[in-house]
Amino acid sequence: MENLVNKEQNSLTKDDGFFSKKLQRRNFLQYAGVSAAGIALVAAGCKKDTFNAGVDLGSGDIGILNYAYALEQLEAAFYTQIIATPFTGITSAELAAFTDIRDHEIAHREFLKAALGAKAIQNLEVNFSTINFSSRDSVLGTAKAFEDLGVSAYNGAGYLIKSPDYLTLAGKIVSVEGRHAAYIRDLISNGSFAGSDVVDAMGLDKSRTPAEVLSIAGAYIKTKINASNLPS
């Protein structure tokens, strides 16, 4: 998909320097599912609003909170599915822990929704077609990826937050995601709670930009997300 978009992009950029410059930036800022059809529409001369179709996260702190809300929606949906259809051989301890994690993610999601009020984005449609929920390996591997991604997302967005209260709230959530990540990693391989794939030689965890996070998360989110107004 990304390659396809890039190809379309390249063919467009040859024609009109001014137009393409704008378009490149727009394309860069759109992550989850920019369609070739959408680009074709722009080429046909539609307004940029049409091109920017997708759920707009918004700007400023609201944008960052909606970004978090989008990620929590994804996580909550994932764990809800795990508990609805537990993987083969799940232990009672694992079922209890995953139920806890599901409830934490729902608490994060519902809290952010309540805090955002009328500014909250809509419910996102997820796409878990690549996950085999009956397979322990598939579920744990995805859970690890989601939790590590969540940690890096909050770490990377922290400095973009302007309100000290919101920053503290993000801090309250990210360490819980870190606890989840460590728990799931230890289920996969005991002792990998802070493995060298996430914690570097200086003892620092990862941080990712919203662009990086959404390009990864986008594979699991069917609804188009427009993050072009987020602070950077």
């Binding site: 809800t80 508990i83 822990a97 806890d100 599901r102 409830d103 934490h104 993610e105 729902i106 608490a107 994060h108 519902e110 809290f111 309540a114 805090a115 940690v151 909050y154 770490n155 990377g156 922290g158 400095y159 937050i161 302007k162 000290p164 209260d165 920053l167 503290t168 709230l169 801090g171 309250k172 959530i173 990210v174 360490s175 819980v176 995601e177 870190g178 606890r179 989840h180 990540a181 460590a182 728990y183 230890d186 005991n190 002792g191 709670f193 802070a194 914690v199 030689a201 200086m202 003892g203 620092l204 965890d205 990862k206 941080s207 602070p231 950077s232």
Partner: protein, 273 residues
């Protein structure tokens, strides 16, 4: 990053800065109406030198935070160095491997913070890991050692969280602090699982349930306030969960709470000679 507050801070500390920066300041003022975003993206080379100046002028707050963090990292680092080096204390195998890994992370945090602070770094205090006799068997009883380790990690998570607002908007330092903060959370999670697996705290979870869930009454202060269920005015237990409202346990587990610097210092005070 609040550019205009930074300028204000600099003016307070260096009244002549307005003159020094005059041409740029005029430019900044005129950009003001377009918002910080425009101002930032419209300042090419001025920006780098400008922020070096700004950083130098507001160093004291940042250094205070970093030195506070360094003190906590000294505490953790020396604790694990001693524990890992004490023969017969930690069972060989997974436990020793995990605690060695945590030791290495804490050592790395010390080295990192010292390198950032340079000559402004505080010296390592002398520690008393018995906390004045409260944990006399800390290096002879594995259960005590793990209980103290868990408390250090959970407290560390709270301490970094409490300092985040002092680093608001600081891309480099806040991000680094957050990157350490989540590592401490990973450690805390693992240590809690170790205490559960070894039977010392059979019901403890990787996340904090209510206030002091450790089974160790002496560490209650480290968990004071963790039973909070209200976030930004929203009572989490009034929100919809699965098959009813979100439980009180889940509401407390889902959010880790910050601690003030003062609260942290009173917790670690007994460990510092």
């Amino acid at each position: 990053m609040n550019l205009f507050n930074i300028i204000k801070d600099i003016e307070t500390m260096d009244p002549e800065i307005t003159d020094k920066l005059n041409p740029r300041r005029a430019a900044l003022k005129s950009f003001g109406s377009f918002g910080t975003k425009v101002a930032l993206s419209s300042l090419p080379f001025a920006l780098g030198s400008f922020f070096n100046t700004a950083k130098a002028q507001s160093t004291s707050t940042v250094n205070d935070v970093l030195n506070f963090a360094l003190t906590l990292e000294y505490l953790e680092s020396e604790f694990y160095i001693k524990g890992v080096a004490t023969s017969g204390l930690i069972p060989a195998g997974a436990a020793l491997t995990a605690l060695t890994k945590i030791r290495d992370d804490e050592n790395a945090h010390v080295a990192f913070l010292k390198s950032v602070l340079g000559s402004a770094a505080v010296a390592k205090p002398n520690f008393d890991f018995t906390a004045g006799g409260t944990f006399n068997d800390v290096f002879t009883n594995y259960a005590t050692f793990l209980a103290v380790a868990q408390t250090f990690e959970d407290t560390g998570v709270r301490a970094y969280k409490g300092q985040a607002p002092n680093l608001l908007g600081n891309k480099v330092v806040l991000t680094a602090a957050l990157n350490i903060h989540s590592v401490e959370a990973r450690h805390a999670s693992h240590l809690r699982q170790m205490r559960k697996a070894s039977g010392q705290a059979p019901n403890i979870k990787a996340w904090i349930t209510g206030a002091n869930d450790t089974g160790v009454p002496q560490v209650a202060a480290s968990f004071a306030g963790e039973d909070n269920v209200t976030q930004a005015g929203v009572n989490i237990t009034t929100l919809n969960g699965v098959g009813g409202k979100i439980s009180t346990s889940a509401a407390t587990e889902a959010f880790d709470e910050p601690l003030t610097k003062q609260a942290v210092l009173s917790i670690v005070g007994p460990f510092i000679k």
